[in-house]
Amino acid sequence: MSQCSYQSSLDAYHDGQTPPELAREIEQHLPACDACSAELGRLVELSQLLRTAQPEAIHADELARVHQAVEGVEDRGVIRLVTGLSAVAASILIISGSWLYDGPRPNTMQIARPTVPEQTWERMASAGQIDVPVDVPQVGTALDDRTQRDTADWMVIGMGGPVEHGNH
């Protein structure tokens, strides 16, 4: 028996997927075609049989595990975000610390350097220079000459002059 021209459309007709016009043509054709009627009958039977093999719906514990699996991925995403932010914060701290450490320091400490006349008492002592200012009291005459010489006149004389000190 030659294949009917509508046989190739029977699957789609059975599945409700044919255009309305073609569906009407097949409906009118079926009563007159044993081959197409038989084929359609086999398609219906197969679908009924396959429907008996429908898998069971998801079980409650399976659904719970799916939710847990998704939560695991969500948590990994949060951890990754927190780790990233922590790394950025740590970098900022390190850079800031480094800048503060190496940055310019205010000049708060000035070493006081007394400005003294060129001839300080140290220099006078080492050079053996003894200048007796008029207003400096003479060493007491009770001391003998030797004692006077031994007296550290330069200490007295040197201290008699003006001393300029720096700001403390």
């Binding site: 699957d11 396959l50 093999a53 069971e56 998801i58 998704v70 969500e74």
Partner: protein, 182 residues
Amino acid sequence: MEPGDLELVHRAARGESPAFHALVDRHASELMRLAVSLSATRADAEDVLQETFIGAYQGMRRFDGRASVKTWMKRILVRQAARHWNRSKRSRSTLPIDAAEASPAPREISNGPIGVDRRMDVAAVVRTLAPEHREVIVMREFDQMSYAEIAEVLQVPIGTVESRLHRARADLRTKLQGYNVD
């Protein structure tokens, strides 16, 4: 009024975790049935389902909304199932334990409730189909998806869906010869 799937995806992409879990609750059952039909064992199906939702979660920011959310997730699932199947095929030397021989012996079906045995036999025979035939048969016969929806999930032309269905049914009829339905 309950938010639609696309609204839930957008909310989840903005970080609203409950939105994605709502999507899971809404689609897990249907996706699980598809996963079971495309997997060797139920345990494999559960893995496939979890991987599907994880893939959807990780990819939802890139979801452009051209397909429906359900179609998009089914597309992910079919791919995951195929990957799982190929991986497990390499480690499987024989058919899974719940699979009968390729042409199980015919049996008389009574008017009583469908036995677990027959369901397992038919399901096992479905698993013996070529992957591309199994996919279209499962989506059409179990999920009642339209040809256009199946084509969108598999990203093939509608004509390809039709021809694969036709061949799958012919193959099944041969393998299920002798099964009678009252």
